[in-house]
Symmetry: C2
Subunit: 220 residues, 2 copies
DNA sequence: TTTACAATCAAGTAATCTATTGATGGAAGT
DNA sequence: ACTTCCATCAATAGATTACTTGATTGTAAA
């Protein structure tokens, strides 16, 4: 079948879209949005066999969505650029708009944990500037170390109960984690409210913040 | 395999991405970006059998990307909302960034036809306001009738040679058509330059203009 | 060189997707 | 009621994709 120029270009676009067309690959991309990762670590986090994860990652690489480098025995993958996060955000926006299914799932699992409105990135910047809030990163420490919001303190969710003393009880907490559907931030807000603290959730997570070109901090 | 909430949501997103993962469906969406169309008309334009086009359209509908309505014997499809165009634009951006292949194809077919920079939407608005340019829509008349840029005149590409008299020779022409990869605008600019006219091309096309929320005109 | 380990490759099976064909449903006109 | 036409549905064969298993490559350390 001979294709015209437009068909050939559209076929390329379709290839990129198909690379996004699998839940495992989207989850891999979400993790890569936090920073560079080895294949083994990714496979473990997403719950895939090593070979399977490797093949999914190569599919993403062929589509130009991720890049990799070798360091000794290990091969580290990363997002090709911030535009990938933008594309993922656009996909999420459109999907949410039209799929009642997404809403149903969200309500089922997240209802009652989110009675207050999430905080936008702009709101967060304002509140930080006015010094009224504590920004709390509840991701695992290694992800925090690779990059986080400026001024954020890191208490991984599992340690939150034991480290409440580190949070000033008079300041509202704004929690964030990996992205709009990362459960950690929901759980953290619920836990803090159960302690009588004021707590809200950033509307999305670290990758979106980074892609928006807002300032970052690292601690490695 | 039992899935957590995040996996279920990601599976929905992946479904939307997969709906974009076929060149024929992307081409259908491009045509729908011009306005409402019947199944038969779409099938003819994209070069698909009726049954095949119908099934692709239903896949797009299941993904929430298009909607349809019945009018007598005919069923008309349309984009679900302007967000779809935004998602397509995001897909195009990311794909272009990373796929050298796209560039290679573009150069092969479009080189030498595009020696001057295309005009951005903002530039076009400024130039129209200053009254210095003629905006030329080279799409077929029915597409023009369903919506076009304000002040644009419509001369379908095939009629351009015979209707040159309608264009003021002292004003620069800015041509546009269906989108960034629609050949009509390239061809029109080439034809006009061959006549010694000043002509440039809008950077993308009608759907992107509409999705950007810029003013529109209709003539039906 | 040998060993160990990270990651990829290769092959096979099961599942899914595409396009064609012919049949069915739904609406308008005769 | 009958016919016509638009569109969808149903069934099929062929192609593509996903995941597993076991072998292979590349690098570092013993």
């Amino acid at each position: 079948m001979s294709m015209g120029p437009k068909q050939a270009i559209l076929a390329e676009f379709a290839g990129v879209a198909r690379a996004l067309g699998h839940a495992h690959r989207l989850e891999l991309l979400e993790h890569l949005g936090q920073g560079e990762r080895g294949v083994d670590a990714l496979a473990a986090r997403v719950g895939l066999s090593l070979a399977n994860a490797s093949q999914h990652l190569q599919q993403l690489r062929r589509a130009g969505l991720v890049a990799n480098r070798r360091d000794g025995k290990f091969i580290y993958y990363r997002l090709a650029d911030d535009g990938v996060t933008d594309l993922l955000t656009a996909l999420r926006r459109q999907s949410e708009r039209n799929l009642a299914e997404v809403d149903r799932i969200r309500r089922g699992y997240f209802a009652e944990r989110d009675s207050f409105e999430p905080v936008s990135r702009e709101d967060l910047l304002e509140r930080v500037a006015s010094g009224l809030v504590t920004v709390l990163d509840v991701r695992p420490s290694d992800e925090f170390g690779q990059g986080h919001l400026p001024g954020a303190i890191n208490i991984p969710l599992v340690e939150l109960q034991n480290r409440l003393a580190e949070l000033d009880p008079d300041r509202e907490v704004i929690a964030y984690c990996r992205g709009a559907y990362c459960v950690f931030a929901f759980e953290a807000v619920a836990a803090l409210r159960a302690q009588g603290r004021k707590a809200r959730r950033l509307v999305d997570g670290f990758p979106e913040w980074k892609a928006a070109g807002l300032p970052l901090a690292t601690s490695i």
